[in-house]
Amino acid sequence: MSKFRWLILFGPLVLFAALLIFLLKGLGSDPTELDSALINEPVPQFEASDIYDTQVVYDQSVLKDGPVLMNVWATWCPTCRAEHEFLNELASNGIPIVGLNYKDDSRQKAVNWLNTLGDPYVINLFDPKGKIAFEFGVYGAPETYFIDHKGVIRYRHVGDVNERNWSNKLQGIYQQLVEDAK
């Protein structure tokens, strides 16, 4: 009977604490940020032309000499503009970023953007219909994929990459990929 007494006395308290933790976790999380379905999957197959020269065609092998980041962007996306300066900075620090231009208004607009704001990308993939992005499960721009040296997607970041989330989280993820490649 005394066992039950403890249960009756503290059971509700424990339940309350569990509920509190559960709800607090819910408060802090952003429901629009989805986990990618492709985590720990190899990069999907694709063919894409270069944004500057449509005669040049790339395939998924350009993402297999990682670790490499793949950034999904478009000129119609204001957040992409906001993060562009930081991507330039990352590129100047020697971090390879492949750009995937996603359903842009026109190729010329995208090229103008890169010419005026700078081009942080080692390779520029052009995806006017969003076909490649569909294979990656892209649901908005910007998105940044972290791909390891074997061409496996290890992490997806939704939203802009900035100084704060880079130093808080993303740099660590990238460093881990560099370590794994050794």
Binding site: P31, T32, L34, D35, S36, A37, L38, K103, G130, F134, E135, F136, G137, Y139, G140
Partner: protein, 153 residues
């Protein structure tokens, strides 16, 4: 005259929604079965961009792409299951309104059952306690009989 005008007007009004639904996408289906499957898919696939709408309701460009892809795959002769599998492989379980049964989601099925079982358990234990309280000891029974006797007199 007025009556026939009114009648024509009503007929046009009635036809507008049907026409709008057909023109929204110039999809031509091979048969009724395919059309039904398409409509079913647009209802049960969820748009990842505008999270609480299915791809049929959503105007997001991504939902449009997903409708297009569903349509194309149907035309290629792929089944409903194959199309759902295709979408889930790219956009995750999130994209289908019917979550699969896994260890994580099992709580959705077992949770309510568990709560009902706990409830029945509590109810049973409470009624048992009441019964136990009514049971009297030998002495108490004798005393009760005495009291009853004295009451009769």
């Amino acid at each position: 005259m007025i009556r026939s005008l009114l009648l024509a007007f009503t007929a046009v009004l009635l036809l507008i929604p049907a026409a709008a639904a057909e023109n929204e996408n110039n999809y031509q289906f091979d048969n009724e079965q395919q059309r039904t499957t398409y409509q079913q898919l647009t209802k049960e696939l969820r748009c990842p961009k505008c999270q609480n709408q299915n791809i049929g309701d959503s105007n997001a460009p991504l939902a449009e792409d997903m409708r297009d892809r569903s349509y194309q795959m149907l035309k290629e002769g792929q089944s409903r299951e194959k199309i759902i599998e295709f979408m889930v492989a790219r956009y995750g379980d999130f994209v289908h309104y019917q979550p699969p049964f896994t260890t994580v989601t099992s709580i959705l099925w077992w949770g309510p059952l568990l709560i009902v079982i706990i409830g029945i358990g509590i109810a049973v234990s409470l009624t048992r306690k009441k019964k136990a309280a009514v049971e009297l000891t030998q002495e108490e029974r004798q005393r009760l009989q005495q009291l009853r006797k004295s009451g009769d007199e």
